[in-house]
């Protein structure tokens, strides 16, 4: 491999990391605030993909605009989901059996609704942009990946601003840090949880719509991404938004470069292998590892 090949792969992984981060961040906020592992995330990703697909096919709305429209639509959908189902779950500091089973049931329902409505064939969104690319010296970058990357990064920056500057972000952070203390100082945990679930779902739908521009999809679209999301948030230390970005980058680099060594059909095994390694070596994620190192020195 030449140097430009390496550069090419690094750029590819960077672009992939952007969308991975947007995809995982929805799961992170929900886990952080409610300690629920949102297995229905896979279903929301799939719905986001079909949301953009339907908008594009029926109403000829550009998929990028479709992804942006997915944000408010899925925000409302997530809040409804929380009001209808999630809020009845017992509250706990650790993920409960019932929350895992409930979200799993929701995922099953969403996935099979997808099969019922859209059939089991793969669909894809094809625009004139799909095959276009940008030339940068020797390296050509697919235009779609670039657009998706920019959209993902912008959304993450917006989320970070909400997280740090708004009243809602502050109550979210306080619930993540210490739910009891947060309640004592008057944080409305029920309302914050509802908004957080909406936010997480919104990001899932948004990421799903973005992913739909890159890959073909069917009703089982979310499954491979569910495990990836989880690996990313474990790498990022489960609860921090900036950790997610690092985790996404690590996974993306590993996946892109592993194609050189492993046959592509083994790719789904990579995220699992990474998960096992991470769990053994650094159970608190990269951030935890750094903290430990700093404490020692």
């Amino acid at each position: 491999m030449t140097a430009s090949d390496y550069l090419d792969l690094i750029i590819k992984s960077l672009l992939l990391a952007g969308i991975y981060a947007a995809m995982a961040v929805g799961m992170t906020v929900i886990y952080g605030v409610m300690k629920i592992v949102n297995l229905a995330h896979a279903g929301f990703l799939m719905m986001g993909a079909y949301f953009a697909f339907v908008l594009f096919n029926r109403f000829h709305i550009d998929p990028v605009l479709g992804a942006i429209l997915a944000l408010p639509a899925f925000f409302l959908f997530g809040m409804a989901m929380h009001w209808l189902l999630v809020r009845w779950l017992p509250k706990s500091d650790t993920p409960t059996l019932s929350s895992l089973l409930l979200m799993f049931g929701v995922w099953l329902v969403l996935q099979n609704l997808g099969y019922m409505i859209f059939g089991s064939e793969d669909s894809s969104i094809l625009t004139p942009r799909t095959l276009a690319s940008v030339q940068l010296g020797d390296i050509s970058i697919p235009l779609v990946s670039l657009i998706v990357f920019i959209a993902a990064v912008v959304s993450l920056v917006l989320l970070q601003i909400i997280f740090n500057r708004s009243w809602f972000g502050r109550s979210m952070r306080s619930l993540i840090q210490n739910p009891y203390a947060a309640k004592i100082v008057g944080v409305d945990d029920e309302r914050t949880a509802r908004l957080t679930f909406g936010l997480g779902t919104a990001f899932a739908g948004f990421a799903g719509a973005l992913l739909a521009m890159l890959y073909s999809f069917n009703a089982d679209f979310g499954r491979p991404f569910l495990l990836r999301s989880f690996v990313i948030i474990v790498l990022g230390g489960l609860e921090s938004v900036s950790g997610v970005a690092i985790g996404a980058l690590v996974l993306a680099l590993l996946e892109t470069f592993s194609v050189q060594v492993l046959p592509a059909s083994y790719q789904p095994a990579i995220s699992f292998a990474l998960l096992v390694v991470v769990l053994i070596i650094m159970p608190k994620g990269i951030a935890g590892l750094l903290q430990r190192k700093l404490k020692v020195t």
Binding site: T94, T96, L100, N112, Y266, V276
Partner: protein, 336 residues
Amino acid sequence: MAPVAARRYTFVLPWVIFLALLLLPLTDLSSNTIRLLFTTAVWIIAGIGWNLVGGFTGQVSFGFAVFYGLGAYVTALMINGGRSPYFAFLGGIAIAVLASFFVSMPTFRLRGPYFAIATIGVGEATRVIMNNLDITGGASGYRIFEKRAFNQLEHYYSAIVLMALALAISSLIVHSKFGLALRAIKQDQDAAAAVGVNHYLSKLWIHAVAAAMTGLAGGLYARYHAFIYPGDVFAFQTSIYILLIPVIGGIGTVWGPVLGGIVFGIVEEELVVHFPNIHLLLYGSVLIAIVLLEPDGLIGLLRRLVRFFWRRREDSGSKDPDEILWGRSGLEGREL
């Protein structure tokens, strides 16, 4: 009076059911009914296994198809290698137990949802590998040539006896000191550790026992069907089915998987015939409904009924009859 009678029922009832199942083929049953009973018994064995980990210990696994499939494939390979099928079952069990350590050793060291999510990943990874493995024919499947005439009754009896064995093991574990430790872990891991329960080793071993049962179920299935492929035995759907059986019946109860397996076996048969496309949709809805409305499943429903009628007939109620009939409430410490 009631508790004594109830205790007598709980002692006699399993034997009556077991005898009835053994004598059933003597009546003129169609081979299709026997097949249905066989399949149900296989599902029940796997469900009992899942219930040990998911129900009693509170560690949900979404990847039991791994053990099911490995049991099936190892059994198939050994039967084709000329071994006796019962020896082959043992081989399947051994490999399933080994695989269980591979999943549980890294994940059970940590608290939190790591185990549950890792099981999804392990299922994916195993299916991918099996789809590309040459010695088993990859995705196109593997055929089993047993050097004996096909005898449906032998399959049936082996499944029934092994099911009874699995149920007995599960009951023994639950009522032993080890079972108490598992329940303690489910309710509060820290408190359990404080009274001297090694939660890591306990989870590891119970997961191994569960994997053994599931591997056995896979082996039984493979021997009966004589043809297996990764898209079936390693499918995510298989994991879902194995999980649903105890959840429907009553998670964390000895008899839950049995009840759930019977209902599931019959319902699956009908659903697949009449609604091939939406049966998973229905299962998902059932799962949501059970979690939100009756977390103890059918057993919980029955318990409510029994309590209702017992209250009406007798007023003393010094001891809850249902505690003897159904075991301690699964409600206590339902959480991880």
